[in-house]
Symmetry: C2
Subunit: 386 residues, 2 copies
């Protein structure tokens, strides 16, 4: 029924390479998904993403639901056709944005009531409606609605929230299967090959994560995500939870760590067996003038770059590094030129996507451990400006 498939092609320790097949092509994992919140990755075009060899992008259900609307996108033939992107797209459920962006979001067993951050209009997002919206968007991978508690939430609150997330997961799956089977009158399934991923919650409590894995896997999805991390908890604790949770997820499913993405996190979490990442860091930091290189971070506005003729990273083969100096990039940033955002984004995305490529190559050749050590050594050495 679904053309979705995931198979592991090689392993090195717990790290693994895989092929994730979707209705819009194969994604070689471990993979990073650039974030295209409103159906566009900020400051770059789809042509740029192709040049960067982005394999899959993420779009935000919450934003697209509010504007231009999922029904409009469905009438336009779905998100791929609407945004002129023929490769895979993953959509989140909208839950995370409802909790972080929408004022007065209130959770009930039914779902989340929230007000639009654009016009204040009131909406109810349920496990069922999140599935319906994503069916209309026609993404290749849809996520279930989950609740993502604060990292300071009590164990009791996290337990209750996690259990509700499990109940929501079952409702979401049921709705997804109903939609897919075509029995829902008046609803079109824009992408018949859409897959649905379940999301494990449980905060920073290993035993709750364990329980969540059990409950979510019991519902049964094409693959699984780990949610509710990188929300402020210490990074070592995050790694610990990722490691334990990834280990208890099914070997034959893809494992997607949601929203996590400092460069060192990618490497560490691949080591835990994670296959899929998304994060706004490379694109957002690019716009703020923070550039990632193999030798650490560069804050391009710093005066030390005013006359620096070197590229951002001498070893980088991206368009920006092949053509422009730090001095020029600093000038564009200081002058608030839009081209600054574009050139910085091209570089940061190249860094992320190239890092993932090198990770895949090192796993395939059995040298991931060496890659990991070298990566951390180089990246940490100049964590302040070089």
């Amino acid at each position: 029924m679904s053309s979705f498939d995931f198979r592991v092609t090689s392993r090195d320790g717990r790290a693994r390479c895989g092929e994730m097949s979707t209705g819009h092509g194969v994604v070689h994992t471990p993979a990073f998904m650039p974030v295209g919140t409103r159906g566009a990755v900020r400051a770059v075009t789809q042509r740029d993403l192709d040049d960067l060899e982005a394999q899959i992008i993420l779009a935000n259900t919450y934003h697209l639901f509010l504007r231009p609307g999922d029904r409009l996108i469905a009438r336009q033939g779905g998100l791929h056709r609407f945004m002129g992107w023929e490769k895979p797209v993953l959509t989140d459920s909208g839950g995370y944005q409802v909790f972080s962006l929408a004022p007065m979001g209130t959770v009930s067993e039914d779902g989340v009531q929230f007000r639009s951050h654009i016009d204040g209009s009131s909406h109810l997002l349920t496990p069922e409606s999140a599935a319906e919206i994503q069916a209309r968007l026609g993404s290749d991978i849809a996520m279930v609605l989950d609740e993502c508690p604060s990292h300071t939430a009590s164990r009791e609150f996290v337990l209750e929230s996690m259990q509700r997330t499990s109940r929501w997961a079952r409702r979401a799956r049921n709705r997804f299967l109903e939609l897919k089977s075509g029995i829902v009158v008046g609803e079109e399934f824009v992408n018949p090959e859409q897959a649905q991923f379940g999301i494990v919650q449980g905060g920073v409590y290993t035993e709750l994560r364990e329980q969540s894995v059990h409950e979510i896997v019991d519902v049964g999805f094409e693959s699984y995500a780990i949610g509710g991390l990188s929300v402020g908890e210490p990074v070592d604790l995050m790694y610990q939870i990722v490691s334990a949770t990834a280990a208890s997820l099914p070997e034959r499913s893809a494992r997607y760590l949601m929203g996590t993405g400092m460069p060192e996190d990618l490497v560490e979490c691949v080591a835990c067996g994670i296959d899929l990442f998304d994060c706004v860091l490379p694109t957002r930091n690019a716009r703020n003038g923070q550039l990632f290189t193999r030798h650490g971070r560069i804050v391009i506005k710093n005066v030390c770059y005013a006359e620096d003729e070197r590229p951002v990273d001498q070893d980088c083969l991206c368009y920006t590094c092949r053509n422009f100096s730090r001095a020029y990039l600093r000038h564009l940033f200081m002058a608030k030129e839009m081209t600054s955002a574009t050139l910085n984004t091209l570089h940061n995305l190249h860094f992320y996507l190239d890092t993932m490529k090198r990770i895949r190559e090192s796993i395939a050749s059995g040298s991931f451990g060496k890659f990991r050590r070298q990566f951390h050594q180089m990246f940490a050495r100049h964590s302040v400006d070089s």
Copy 2:
């Protein structure tokens, strides 16, 4: 001494095709120069400009003088190297921005005293310093400092201003030649093949324009520009002045009409014998959501485009029109996505550059008159949204 050269290659009425040779290559005229105010054309990259077959771009001396500074750019090897652009660059003199952007600009015989719009610092721009700044930038074509009076200025004021502009032109030329000969201690001439254009003023007074042509041509420059138009005067009066002034400029020099550029203006002024244009319209209007097509203008935010699956212009071969619908472009504009500015700019610049190409082809084949009639018919037909 200068590799600058201009030769007419074909004529159709007063319209003409030419080849303008510079130190960074040949420009086929009539040509349009996209405006890269601060050393970058807003919302696009140099790669995009290459794809669009932009032959030459304009950069603003005023902006680059203030930030990052002409001396910094000289130390970086000049503007071409700094901005990673190997084709020709024309720089204006800075005068226009001093009058329009800088508060408290005061004109004396010496030059213009002004305060920076960035930090309020005080500067004096003289005919000599404008030449020096542009020598440091290393553009292929430098413009002399001129004064551009308001279109409501009295004949008496315009006469006085025009005569001062003529005196400034002689000082600017002297300084340019001194710099070029290398006799100025401590000054490097970044681009030894730089040419300098004189600027004709005289407002809307035909006889003052005539006198200005006489005085400026008497100084002697590689080529000549018509300044002080498109500053609010009626369009028919503008055409009349352009027509008379172009006719009195030397046949064997390039004629550059500064800052004028509605699409219909390009066609009309080519008919008067103009060879070179610049204007912020295609780029600025793109960012404001106004798109130019052969069939008129489109204001992309209009609700009629919300579900319009057609490209901006069905006949257009630009990246935007080949890949994206009006509905998607409207969505990006409404959502204030930066990619909106990029896609709109790619389209508008393609429209301008393609129009110039079709103008050149029609002149070369002796069918410019027919092109001109058809262009106006099509463009005027849907001047409101189609």
